[in-house]
């Protein structure tokens, strides 16, 4: 019995370590989009569980920032019960109001608060273990648990799924059409940046971090026609990056977070002040692209804002005459 268990464990471990087909990965991580629009709606979740709604939800409780980005584009404010407090700073609601900012917000949420608010749909992330199973003191509250997307296709999948769950087919189609058009535009302009290497870098003085393959930042770099030297070196996800490694990769462009005047000590100032980095191509050519951290950390359609901003800044660096464009 035991050797078989060990063998199964080893096989599972091997599977996890092997690069998976993107479609298979999406099918494993996300629930499928129901084939038919309308209600009653039923979705078979991974693990032989199912999620059912008799009618379009009217009391939606959102417990995650990236889901706030998507839902606030699909549903009207009166259908949303409450939002996470962080979403007011870290989602699109930092820039727009649209009637959502007056909604009740919470810093942390637990089962007792969920029961008190009595939503007819709870949307949460898979990291919120207390809520993810959707069982609250024996009461079932329809709960849809979605992980953080790691690719643009996974973001599309989330939009399609939530549009169907919220009964917002038209808003979903509009959002997808806008998403695809912007993505296509970026792809069409990618050739002008071909051959450049770019690297996401973050350092608040306590050590550097970069982003390898299997991540949204890597997909953005490739979408813009550039290559990611960290991904080329076989590094995956968010990884620690020493100054020595940064010098070894010597990218043409470094993309950093900028807190827009909130602090002088940003990744960019670390890069500019560190004497050992003075010889880097990106430092010599002043090819440092700054983005607000909200755009770095989102897993929603808003990530295209980051891509557009990077494209604009890189193009200005490559061709200073393009400033007015």
């Amino acid at each position: 019995m035991m050797p078989r268990r060990i063998m199964s464990g080893a096989c599972l471990l091997l599977l996890c370590c092997t690069d998976e087909n993107p479609d298979a990965a999406r099918a494993r991580r996300f629930p499928p989009v129901p084939a038919k629009a309308g209600f009653p709606l039923r979705i078979d979740l991974p693990g032989a569980e199912s999620f059912a709604l008799q009618q379009a939800p009217r009391r939606v409780l959102i417990a995650n920032t990236y889901l706030t980005d998507v839902v606030t584009r699909l549903a009207s404010p009166e259908r949303v019960l409450a939002l996470p407090e962080q979403a007011l700073t870290w989602s699109r609601l930092a820039l727009v109001d649209e009637g959502f900012r007056v909604k009740a917000s919470f810093r942390e949420i637990d089962a007792e608060m969920v029961l008190e608010m009595d939503p007819d749909l709870l949307l949460c992330s898979d990291t919120n273990l207390a809520l993810a199973r959707g069982r609250f003191a024996g009461r079932d509250i329809p709960t849809l648990t979605l992980p953080q997307p790691r690719s643009l296709e996974e973001i599309r999948h989330v939009i399609r799924l939530l549009a169907r769950v919220l009964g917002a087919e038209e808003a979903g189609r509009d959002l997808l059409a806008d998403f695809d058009a912007r993505r296509r535009r970026l792809q069409e302009q990618a050739a002008r940046r071909e051959g450049l290497s770019a690297l996401f870098y973050s350092n608040l003085g306590g050590g550097g971090w970069g982003t390898g393959s299997n991540s949204l930042p890597d997909e953005l770099i490739r979408l813009l026609g550039m290559r990611n030297p960290l991904a080329d070196a076989g590094r995956r996800d968010h990884v620690q990056l020493t100054l020595e490694q940064l010098i070894t990769y010597d990218p043409d462009v470094i993309i950093v977070q900028s807190r827009a005047g909130e602090s002088e000590f940003e990744s960019e100032s670390v890069l500019r002040r560190e004497p050992s980095l003075a010889g880097l191509k990106a430092i010599r050519k002043q090819a440092i692209v700054s983005l607000h951290p909200r755009l770095f950390s989102t897993g929603s359609q808003e990530i295209l804002l980051a891509a557009e901003e990077i494209a604009a800044q890189v193009d200005r660096i490559l061709d200073p005459k393009a400033k007015g464009r």
């Binding site: 962080q86 700073t89 003085g205 020595e244 070894t248 050992s276």
Partner: protein
């Protein structure tokens, strides 16, 4: 071989290994692997002697040189601190963490990271404060020393430091600081960049160290090592108890303060530079004790040398065999040191029970 020569030979061997490991640090690391002559030329140029290498190679060699120097000094400081505290408390489980020094440094560094992340008061946001890495080290040092002094003040009564009260105060203050750290992490949960910076500092790091870091940890170690001739024999006499030591003419109160001050200073400087590196201050003095016995005249200086070799060796293993995994020194230390220490305890449990 005479008993008096064995510590000397071990000391010589450890010192040579320390130098050898710094040399190996120069040719280990990322994809750039220069030959030894080039590496040495880069290192000498980094110290202001000789001609610099071309392009980015010089910068890489300098980063490796300072990493190696800092690793050795941090290891030496933590091991010396552990050996001093084990002697003072007459307890093999004593280590710098019980004085709250690690926790205090982490609290200081976390506050600095919050300031860097834009959460501090405006006046702290002045670039004139200096380059950010030193702000973190400075805050960590103040946090570490401040916590150590606070614990010692609470534990002393009528000019005497009570060891049991000191241990209990250390436990209570560590618990309070853990709560504060958890509150800070919870407050910035949504800020990915700040959260990540907090996390990586608590793992301990030897990455991206420079001459200022080396100067900081080096001066702490130098000042702490100066007390060794004044406390080594006294700590040997402490083994029979404070009253016996006092009867033999040991100035108990003064010795305790000297030992605590030296242990706190060396540990605070090390933690301020490299973050939390658990286990080293506990395990190295034990390893040395197994080789040369309990006499603090050899134990303290050999622990200093052994700590340097141990941390440098661990760092070399990490960089050569686990490079892409990016295991931090604190993690590596626990993964390697823990099982090794258990093995030694198992092998030598009879002789150790008498200590």
């Amino acid at each position: 071989m005479g008993g008096g020569r064995k510590p000397l030979l071990i000391g010589l061997l450890l010192a040579l290994t320390w130098i050898l490991f710094i040399g190996l640090e120069l040719i280990a690391g990322s994809d750039v692997i220069p030959d030894l002559a080039t590496a040495l030329q880069g290192a000498m140029a980094g110290l202001g002697m000789g001609e610099a290498l071309e392009g980015n190679l010089q910068a890489i060699m300098e980063l490796r040189l300072w990493r190696g120097i800092c690793a050795g000094l941090v290891g030496a400081s933590l091991a010396l601190s552990g050996a001093l505290l084990q002697g003072l408390f007459r307890n093999g489980l004593a280590e710098p963490g019980i004085l709250g020094l690690n926790a205090g440094a982490t609290l200081g560094a976390s506050l600095a990271i919050l300031v860097l992340g834009g959460y501090g008061a405006q006046f702290l946001d002045d670039p004139g404060l200096g380059a950010s890495p030193f702000l973190i080290a400075g805050f960590a040092f103040v946090g570490s020393v401040g916590t150590g002094v606070f614990i010692m003040l609470v534990a002393s009564f009528g000019g005497r430091v009570s060891v049991p009260t000191l241990l209990l105060t250390g436990i209570a203050v560590n618990a309070c600081i853990s709560g504060l750290l958890a509150a800070i992490q919870s407050a910035v949960l949504a800020d990915f960049e700040v959260q990540r910076a907090l996390m990586s500092w608590t793992w301990g790091t030897l990455d991206d160290r420079g001459p200022t870091h080396a100067a900081m940890v080096g001066s702490g170690l130098f000042l702490s090592a100066l007390v060794i001739p004044f406390v080594a024999v006294e700590l040997d006499l402490f083994a029979a108890g404070e009253e016996d030591a006092s009867a033999l003419g040991v100035p108990v109160g003064f010795t305790k303060l000297l030992v605590l001050g030296a242990a706190a200073l060396s540990c605070a400087c090390a933690v301020a530079v490299a973050g939390q590196i658990a286990f080293l201050g506990l395990v190295v003095p034990h390893l040395i004790r197994l080789m040369v016995g309990n006499s603090h005249r050899s134990l303290l200086i050999l622990s200093l040398l052994g700590g340097a070799v141990f941390l440098l060796g661990t760092d070399l293993i990490q960089r050569n065999f686990f490079g892409s995994w990016q295991l931090q020194p604190g993690v590596m230390m626990s993964l390697i040191g823990g099982p090794f220490f258990l093995y030694l305890l198992f092998r030598r449990r009879r002789s150790l029970s008498a200590w």
